[in-house]
Symmetry: C2
Subunit: 337 residues, 2 copies
DNA sequence: CTGAAAGCGCTTACAG
DNA sequence: CTGAAAGCGCTTACAG
């Protein structure tokens, strides 16, 4: 394929090679390849043809270096195994593409050390902005990052950090929706399977507790986690304690809770009602009631905020709250007598 | 933070700034930051301190350019919404990190145009190798890419393309496992919900058809897709045709099939047995029998093959077949009388 | 152990 | 419309 081969190793063609083959200067070749209108049609054609014949592929590391722009945003996803994050990502990518930005995706697999390494890598690659679809960074690390590059956090509200925007659902209100729904169905022994010790879990738990109090009901919180396993164990503890309804911290855990109930021979919703949280698409097939967030929209909003901040790095922080709603499905029904 | 601020805009510190602050040359600063042992301890400390005070962050685009290496592999994922791919990715990343490579992740969202754009981006970023966790490229495109950079395809066997390795499960044998399992349970009306018109779907379908023939049973194939929706529609058609057992093309479609059966008021496995394909973790909670592939291992093997080829670009293509096994769960049971 | 110089592949004023 | 030159931020021989 390539014309000159040095000691068997194939050197990739550069702009220099293209220009030489087309019989023009590097500068002109560069202009032509960028589609500049100031190149004579004949030259342009010669250059494009040469590039084609050579299989020329522009070197982004070189052009980024000189342009001082990468036109790329970095996205960190906490955990690729939770489909919720993939749905948020859809929105981010759609909006980023709309602004003609590419996306560099990275995941910490819910491990803080890996996460920092990967985000550092993004920064070294000079992404122009960062979307964190959940994270485990400390406030200090987060502030340091936001000082370096426009950043938006999706999934929980993050104030008080300059240069940082956030997009989140109202977890307090969302958890209340779940309790209201179950209370309206006549449930009194409504348990909450918590999502562990993190901001979102705490918010959802508070929402549950306040709503229970408002309904004059005794709260019953059992330890769980944002995982199937966490939901499974939580559901066992909750039914042991006599719960007839479960407000589970997230959808994944709700799926685990369902498995636990099945293993116990309990019917859903006849014996126990289950409500999840997040609104991942799969729940439709699973017929699971949930508190749904507009996931893709959260991603879109995040990317849009990021683009705004890339344009105007010093604008004040903005925090968007998206609307959350209850989606009733077959996993919740009237309380047993 | 930074010392000299030009017209309000903060310029990021470069190696030059670090060297100046430490009172040494750029070359020495570079060496020190790379941890070279040829730098005097005193100099090293001064340099590290200066870098720290300045908040210096090395510019990867610059170092990649001069080093002619990125130490990065690109990974394309067909569809982030199928957890199967995330599980394969785990293996890829684990192995890549083990070889001290970073990973650039990209997805085409199952759209061929986006896919090509994203892969092109990876190539322009000079990744040293490519793992395609499924793809929609033509053989020509694939061959062109493999000519440019070491490439391995995961998920189906791909021969006849130089410089390209592949890792796949034995779909023919796998589908047979599902049929054998159901036949052993006494089922005769075993339907296959196909995965559409693509290589994997065709293989699995053939496996099903051959196995049925070997059992002396009449095949019954209904159109489906590798999606919940496809499984849903397929299941409806299959039970209409009198099937008592469903061999579904993949797990996602099997989840959809379950939803269809539930909507029809059919019990699983009492009325209809369901077997999925892929082995995604979630199925454990869903109590769904499946033909499981060692997903993370497939990813690890792929990354290992890629590393080998990066070392020896001209070695012959190798194609690895991983072992597939049936994981029986609650969704399959004896045939109804 | 340390510094001056060249160069990675590209883009962008600046002259003509 | 086109070319020569400088430079993006770094690394790496090469002298000392």
């Amino acid at each position: 394929m390539s014309s000159s081969v040095a000691e068997g190793a194939k050197r990739r063609p550069t702009l220099h090679d293209v220009a030489a083959r087309a019989g023009v200067s590097k500068s002109l070749a560069s202009l032509a390849l960028q589609g500049s209108p100031k190149v004579a049609p004949a030259s342009r054609e010669a250059i494009l043809a040469a590039a084609n014949e050579l299989g020329y592929r522009p070197n982004r590391t070189a052009s980024s270096l000189v342009r001082q722009r990468t036109h790329t945003i970095g996205v960190h996803i906490l955990d690729l195994h939770n489909p919720v994050f993939a749905e948020i990502l859809d929105g981010v990518q759609e909006a980023a593409r709309g602004h003609d930005y590419s996306t560099l995706l990275v995941t910490g697999n819910a491990d803080p050390v890996t996460e920092r390494t990967e985000i550092t890598r993004l920064l070294e690659s000079r992404v122009e902005g960062l979307v964190l679809i959940a994270h485990r960074l400390s406030d200090e690390d987060l502030a340091a990052i936001a000082r370096e590059v426009p950043t938006v956090v999706v999934t929980w509200r993050t104030d008080g950090i300059a240069g940082l925007d956030s997009v989140a659902g109202d977890d307090l209100a969302g958890a209340r929706l779940a309790v209201d729904h179950l209370a309206a169905l006549g449930h009194a022994r409504i348990a909450h399977i918590s999502g562990g010790d993190n901001r979102i879990a705490r918010e959802r738990r508070s929402g549950y507790e306040r709503a229970m109090a408002d309904h004059g009901l005794d709260p019953l919180v059992v330890d769980g986690a944002f995982t199937e396993r966490g939901g499974y164990a939580g559901a066992e503890a909750a039914v042991d304690a006599g719960a007839t309804a479960l407000v589970v911290a997230n959808d994944l855990a709700a799926i685990g809770a369902l498995a636990a109930l099945r293993a116990r021979g309990l019917r859903v919703p006849d014996d126990v009602s289950v409500v999840g949280y997040d609104g991942m698409r799969l729940l439709d097939s699973l017929d699971l009631t949930t508190v749904a967030q507009p996931l893709a929209e959260m991603g879109r909003v995040a990317a849009d905020l990021l683009m705004e901040r890339i344009e105007a790095p010093d604008r004040p922080s903005t925090h968007r709250l998206v609307e959350t709603r209850l989606v009733p499905r077959g996993s919740s029904g009237p309380a047993p007598d």
